[in-house]
Subunit: 94 residues, 4 copies
């Protein structure tokens, strides 16, 4: 029930590989006692990058799962999928 | 000018190692076409963990650099350190 | 095309009336030179209250407009409504 | 112990008056069943405006209270003021 196409999936994996590198970079910055403000700037950059990952996944989810469920003639499960979507948006805005 | 003590530094490095593992886990989830909502839940968890890292670094920064600068008798640089602190807080609240 | 029922609308209007009062309260706090930390605590409370308003409106939007559009047999406009939903979520997570 | 100068205070009061008007506008939008996406866009605008209010108050707090406390020769209370500052930043980033 995953809804990323090949291209979107490749892009997402590349993003996550880059984020993993950034987190390792943060680890090194702490080890080397780098100036706190530089560390904080980097933490913000990684959080932004993760937010973009989340928005891309959400985009795939709405265009795929949610749309398919709502367009199908079977109504069973529609409420559940909408409740789940709203819960995930709420968590994401924390 | 870094201001984490040994204990705080160790804790921070452990947190970042855990976050790196979580990001690798996200990579695997995408590769294995895991359900979007589970991926999004995990993205939120990693962002929360990074926020805690940022708050710990900020805590060290205020207790260390900012305090030392403001308590010293030399006033030169006080404005700069305060402007920098406010800029970093602003970035962090995005 | 608005999708709050009578009960939901009443609740939302009550929330907004309360928020208006809180903002007036903030105005008074500043006029009376209240301690910054108390002001900041109140600013956070109002922002949380507004976030709840936003989530309630989003809830109504997804359950109403989005659902109706996707369930209708006409496909024209489905892409637009999904793009719009994602744009609004993105703005909301800023 | 409030630390906004006359100019800053005037600016802040003007901001809050504008925000109060925006919240009243939101109330009207709901009453008139305006399209949810327009309501959500407006909710985001008000939250941004409140964030700016918060950052301005924080700016005054750091430049005023925090600085004065740390620069004074009396150390009693320094820890408390720093703990309070960090608590307020944490709340603000929620």
């Amino acid at each position: 029930m995953h809804s990323l196409d090949g291209e979107g999936k490749k892009k997402l994996l590349a993003r996550l590989a880059r984020i993993e590198g950034q987190v390792r970079g943060l680890h090194r910055m702490i080890e080397n006692d780098r100036y706190c403000v530089d560390v904080l700037t980097q933490v913000s950059a990684v959080r932004s990058a993760l937010k973009k990952v989340g928005l891309q996944v959400l985009d795939g989810h709405v265009k795929g799962c949610v749309r398919t469920a709502l367009e199908s003639d079977e109504d069973a499960g529609d409420d559940a999928i909408i409740r789940e979507l709203l819960a995930v948006i709420e968590k994401f805005t924390d």
